[in-house]
Amino acid sequence: MRNGHADHIAGLIEPGRVHRDVYTDPDVFELEMERIFGQAWLFVGHTSQVPQPGDFITTELGRQPVIMVRHRDGGVHVLLNRCTHRGAKVVNERKGNAPRLTCCYHGWSFDTDGRLASVPVPEGCAADFDKAAFGLARAPRVGEYRGFVFASLAAKGPSLEDHIGPMKGNIDDLVDRAPDGTLALDVGMHRYAYNGNWKLQVENVLDSYHVPFGHASTVNKQGVQFARREGDQKGAAVVESEKKQTAASWKDRKSYIAGNGHGWTSNTALDDNKRSSPAFDEYKRVLAEKVGAERAQQILTPRLHNSLIYPNMSIMGLNIHVRVIKPIAVDRTEVTIYPVRLVGAPPAMNFGNIRLLNVTHSASSFVQTDDLESFVRAQKGLRSHATDWVDISRGLGDEEPDRELNATRALATHEMVVRAQYKAWLGYMREAA
């Protein structure tokens, strides 16, 4: 791509295929940083990461460093992590607590709401120097839903409500599992990286087609995956043992889209009646005590496998976690996986979730590592000019409305969700900020 002209961008996306440039062209990547990551609502962090005044975390929105910090008045601010003086990154730690945020270079010091508090040697400032104009920049728009803090780097655009509206139920599905009705993202994180485009990971979180082959090494001779949830005796039937074909129950899974590039996949068929362990049974008891037996039963009936909040966040219902996909370069991506603590759940249940997430989604896990291999090989394969097109046509035309869920439905081994992502991608990319 030589320029960001709308018709050129539009030419990269066709009904059942996308041009390889969307994964490999550095100019496309630069435009994505401006038009997607510079405009969209992006997940910043969870309020539980900054419980006390002065608590902060640092992260990135696209490639831009930001600070999420709790102020004395209890408000949570998202500040751009760049000194208003000479540009140095102000906060270098990943997390911490500080009464003020002080730049290491000349000592400019900012209050936890971003206001410039003090400047060393103030008599040297220009006569018309206005401290009020030199506060740390705030993300133009910030919003929150059940502790999940989102920000947009654009002053204008759809509201957070309009953006994540169709996905609120998916967030609720996870949060409601906590007996106290709230989550905490305070149990560490997994971080992994790969030499490949960010969208390879985004597309993968709702891809059920790859599982029987891509994750063959996690499946036993009977075609059953290892037990991935606390209390499960075994995992999902993924492969028909005899024929080495995808198992029927796996082929029946569904995927859904509901606008804005978001989507989700239905739950993995597991024997929930047999799910039992001391930790799980105690958790079930505590949950029922808090919300009532009927509601607890509803909450514990799995509905979702993975949900994608476009462009770069996902929530998993099987091995519960929150995932954020961070683009670094056109062929480099970093991913952060936050295990979630179900507040009010017995520690043994939270440990069960943590220990199994270690083996499903860490950099050294049984599941995620084979995905990373696929992403790396995709990026390598796409160097080939054998064809310029990447096929995403499975199930094209077979989508159907799901009126009950107010969504569009397809088989999960189809590629409707990927097509929906590129529709949203094009929506962002065609419009200059």
């Binding site: 149990v187 090494s217 440990f351 049984f366």
Partner: protein
Amino acid sequence: MDAPARALASPGIAGADRAPIEQFLIHEALLLDERRFRDWMGLFTDDGTYWVPAVPDQESPFDQASLFYDDRDLMRTRVERLEHPRIHVQTPPSRTAHLVGNVFVEEIDEDKGEYVVGSTVIMVEYRDEAQRVFAGRQRHRLRRDGAGFRIVQKRVDLINCDSAFEAMAVPI
């Protein structure tokens, strides 16, 4: 289920016979380098655990994410996967060279026949045109077993444990 704590470097126990312990640690490292993962797993006691924390000075594997925290059940799943013909992330397989040194015997409990041993480990891994280095301090709790030892707990504190890793398919 108590986890081995990371302590500040100890000067070691004067007069402890390091030779058989060092030999055991070298043997363990060679099993990994030779990809004899099942034999490696066999070094652990039935209640043995293998832990690689995800942050420096991590106090517990029970309330925080870890790179690895395998009991024997999870270890078995890991080994079965490493033996699977279609483990894509090991096609081609990793080749590793471990170096174990700076060995200190830190604790001896003759009654239980248990030894806590600290050592420095460096693992160089080569796979698919890329070479990388893992390094850190490891601590083994060993239990005497006949003429040899078995591993009750192995903890590896990588110096870059909290960084973003590319896929790690083999144990350190």
